[in-house]
Symmetry: C2
Subunit: 444 residues, 2 copies
């Protein structure tokens, strides 16, 4: 049978993994795909540079993207170059030239997924992107194929393995954020410049893709409220543990009365629930569907081999013809369909303002009556307290500067964030409190 | 667009869920399927019997299966009647008559999946069965589509929600098996006759299906070694907890040197790992792939609504045309494919005989020197001890009869089961030991 001929843009970590998998397991993959999958051309910046891993025999290295994009002999383009441009232009060109496209590029999909999908719809080609979120965890297939009988009501996910490694280390060894980051860098779980991971940008990109699929609404990643782990104190992980919670960098979005308010934030997650127990560089996605209830998918969210598993899975989907059928559904504009029941209006978290529990940490002067004054203000805003931790003055806060400032931790019952913000503003003005107070949401 | 016309065989729990989902969420489902999905005919034993849930308007109830199987106006047959016959004959007839088939029938697939798949291959129709294993958890899609770039190296799964509910209750409240079963029956998690659940038969059926997909080899469920939870003592759950483990009814199978030895057994699973933390009527499937590493899928493994989510998901897959493409791959006989690297020879667990840790409980007479004699025999068979629990004589064994028999618990280091069996045989003959000793495998 005619092989599926593949050109690849990029030969970094993921590209190397794809090349290895296709050449090392070619026979097995041919069997699953119904025909051989042949990687014929790879575009790299410098074809002459010596490489740790040799490209598979019979593969041509070139620095000319047109050797892939304009090559009439190629059926599919795999884009693993990353970044917005020129990747966007390359993918548009590939689709226009009648090629199916497989990509791992989350930033590009988060920003321009709608345009790319529309182009794929126009040309009748496949745009497959399982590798863009969750590495090898098949969350894109779950949302676009397997769970598609469901209206998704909620998503909560750990989507960044670097952050989860750092948080696990901080929790289990009591290390500071800075020390845990340094360790993650030494172990290869964090990049030299980890900004986009630790500040939540990478997670917001992935959430934008998931929210699009789950709630049928495009939202730019920049408009997702986001807080990273880079401002977390190990103290809060310790207090959370005392209260029976783990702190995770969560992407979440819930459907409430036709609205959805995606957000990224360090969140307290109840120990013993699946997301709380995800350790190290793993990802986990919790999907709540109206029919299926709660489904959780976990696995390695990054790395050459897991991500290559997703890319090659997509190539097999392209080879069998399934991928084009999935793209056809995703590309159909909402206006062309009989119902909009599955879509939701994206709103700001402050507008949706759901009731949930909150973790609060105040830096207070070590004097009697402070808890009473704080509790009073919370009560005035209708917020009741579930539990309180007040430790010995020995446990000083990092922002301490001469005065004896001690931490006071409050776990609230269900409360609206809007009410909480008003209360915190008032509490932070008390003379016995050293602002700013810390507030983290809770997923029960 | 032309609707997809569906006939359904059966209107029990799952069938009712499917009818409700199709009629209640018809517009949303039509959008995902690209065309309306119309349930036109349902075959039931007695169409006149009053029903708690009325069939959707426009649906015809009949007691004549030919009204579905021979009806040229129907595109798909959904089989949710259960049992081997007449379901098998019905599905064969439906495929022969050019209809796609969607089924939730695990017993039938475990026994006759190969024949049905071959027939689907011959007729070019789809045979979709996501609902047969794991309820709403998309494990069939994961193994046949999303993770198909992988060679699966190991499977370990909690596939029976009834057993998991009972084990959770025994662990968390210290109830006996009998009391926990009665409670599960009262709560609706266990049937009046729970035999097929608690003795592991249901789990073996599901494992036969997963092992076929994962290891490309058909194995009859009857030839899978199986042990249920009905012989477990709450004592062992308590000792396991002391050692840091949960006891789960696990289906497992690992690829070792081209062989795979599926088995079903109560197993100690390390606390803090995903499978150990699955509580109540949930299912979880851990798949280890050569590229993706470890992936775990969890969710509700039974119930009208989660199972209907899977059936309707399959109907959408049929409507888009994807399901036929997947069936084409599954139906291709191994001999027709270029490579057999993905398939494995099914062997008896005793032949594969991997090294693993084991939990042992001996009933010993309360006298000095017994531990030493047991340790000596274990050592003679090359089995070393990782930890020992020996409690007060107050903690008598249930099989106690006059003598003071106390439990002695041993956790071994990695050891071969064959060596262990020889050692246990010898230990059980000691005059200070009341046979039989208990042995449970450990998943680390």
């Amino acid at each position: 049978m005619e092989p599926l001929r593949v050109g690849m843009l990029g030969l970094g970590t993921v590209g190397g993994g794809v090349a290895r998998l296709l050449s090392g397991e070619g026979e097995r993959i041919a069997r699953r795909a119904g025909r051989p999958i042949q990687l014929t051309t790879i575009v790299v910046r410098d074809p002459k540079r010596p490489r740790a891993i040799a490209p598979p025999p019979g593969t041509r290295l070139t620095d000319d993207p047109r050797a892939v994009l304009d090559n009439p002999e190629l059926d599919v383009v795999v884009e693993v170059a990353g970044g917005i441009e020129p990747a966007r232009g390359w993918m548009m060109a590939a689709l226009r030239n009648g090629k199916d496209v497989v990509t791992a590029n989350k930033a590009l999909l988060a920003e321009h997924g709608a345009d790319l999908m529309a182009e794929a719809g126009r040309t009748g080609r496949a745009l497959a992107f399982e590798a863009s979120v969750g590495g090898g965890v098949p969350v894109i297939h779950a949302l676009t194929v397997a769970l598609t009988a469901n209206r998704v009501d909620a998503l909560a996910a750990i989507l960044n393995g670097t952050c989860n490694s750092i948080l696990t280390e901080m929790t289990e060894s009591g290390r500071s954020y800075r020390d845990a980051l340094a360790l993650a860098q030494a172990q290869g779980f964090a990049e030299a410049d980890p900004t986009l991971d630790v500040d939540g940008t990478d997670t917001a990109h992935k959430l934008a893709i998931l929210a699009w699929l789950a709630f049928d609404h495009r939202i730019g990643p920049a408009s997702i409220p986001r807080r990273g782990i880079d401002t977390l104190d190990e103290l809060d992980l310790r207090f959370a543990a005392e209260l029976g919670y783990a702190v995770k960098l969560l992407a979440w979005a819930e459907r409430r009365e036709g609205t959805v308010a995606p957000r990224v934030a360090p969140t307290l997650v109840k120990r013993g629930t699946p997301l709380a127990e995800i350790r190290g560089p793993f990802n986990a996605i919790r999907i709540v569907g109206d029919a299926v209830g709660e489904v959780v998918l976990t696995g390695q969210g990054a790395g050459a081999s897991p991500t290559a598993s997703a890319v090659v899975g997509d190539l097999i989907d392209v080879a069998t013809g399934r991928a084009r059928l999935t793209t056809r559904f995703l590309a159909s504009p909402p206006s062309a369909v009989p119902s909009r029941t599955a879509s939701a209006q994206v709103v700001d978290a402050a507008i949706q303002d759901p009731r949930r529990r909150h973790y609060l940490r105040f830096g207070i002067l070590d004097q009697p009556g402070v808890l009473g004054r704080i509790a009073l203000i919370l009560g005035q805003h209708g917020i009741s307290i579930a539990s309180v931790i007040q430790h010995d003055p020995g446990e000083k806060l990092p922002e301490d500067s001469g005065e004896v400032v001690v931490p006071l931790v409050v776990m609230t019952h269900l409360a609206r964030e809007s009410a909480l913000e008003r209360a915190l503003e008032q509490i932070d003005r008390l003379d016995c409190v050293r602002a700013p107070s810390l507030q983290l949401p809770v997923l029960d």
